[in-house]
Amino acid sequence: MRLRAPGLALLLTLGLTIPALAHEGGGVVGGFASGFTHPLLGWDHLVAMVAVGLWGAFLGVPAVWILPMVFPMVMAFGGALGVLEVPLPAVETGIAASAAVLGAMVALAVRPPLWVAAAIVGTFAIFHGHAHGTELPQAANALAYSLGFVIATGLLHLTGIGFGLLVRWPAGAVAVRLGGAAIALAGVALLAGLV
């Protein structure tokens, strides 16, 4: 075996290399961060989540807490379908439609029975969950990723609830319905592929 200085230098260089961790993208922290930002960075998820909270606040107690509680649990079911690669047709269309429909519910002041509202929200949650679920296997840490996106989803609901609580004042009710209309328009734009 003959190895000269350049070969030795190359071997030494290769042996001394270490991973570049400039952004600490792996592990629990990276998994949580990527899961947390997933619903925040996609307009389709973001407006629909806010709409769930907004509609809940508009419908009042107990919808204000039942809808945001139903959503993550049914979303987990949709996520499981995504993980198990159970095909679900028109996932992206379903997500965009969720913003359009939920926004329209607020804008038009629709007040269905609680179980109907929960069923509508739950149906759309399956589409959102499916989209998250298909991305879960690529996560650095699956549990941290799922915790991140569930918490971010809950905080988006809370944002909608916070704005929706304005409904107790006449001017606030108008603002909430306008907010619903804006979300519905965003959903239509997503459906039309304009965003």
Partner: protein
Amino acid sequence: MSARSVAVILLVVVTAPRLALAHGSIQGMGSFYGGMLHPFLVPAHVLVLLALGLFLGQQAIVDLPVGFPAFMGGLATGLLVAAFGIVSLPSLAVLALAAILGVVVATAAALPPALCAALTIGAGLAVGIDSPPDALTVGGRAAALIGTGLSAILGVFYAATLVERLRRGWQRILVRIFGSWICASAFLVLALALAGKA
């Protein structure tokens, strides 16, 4: 094999090793403190312990035999099993318990005492068995296990007593929402594992 070949192989062997980061490395941390941090560094353990704290507080059974004492008994047994390496536990069992406890908290279901005890003991057992110590010496292993047990007990106790004192309607609802989040996260990862992708 020539001396040069041996030198080259030695050079590669010496420069190739990397740090073993199974649980993250914190310089200067002893076995006891490493054990204390363990339940808070493993996401599945954090989830099940938090869910158990919410559950005990919500059911108002912290000071009953089926509550906190049952958890301590289960945890102590589990840690002993881990100490002697009698059996290992699939980490999915911890997540499954977190998902079940999350559903119970989210629905605020009133469970019979026997079921409460079974869930509480099960959570303690699962966390204990799933916390085998890394230390090489007997003393180090014992210190790590004591640390793990102590921090798990304190974590559940604080969460449970805090939740038990929450009386306002919105506070009780917040507890249920946290339960739904725990259930959703655990359920998704369970599905991932069942699909063989975890």
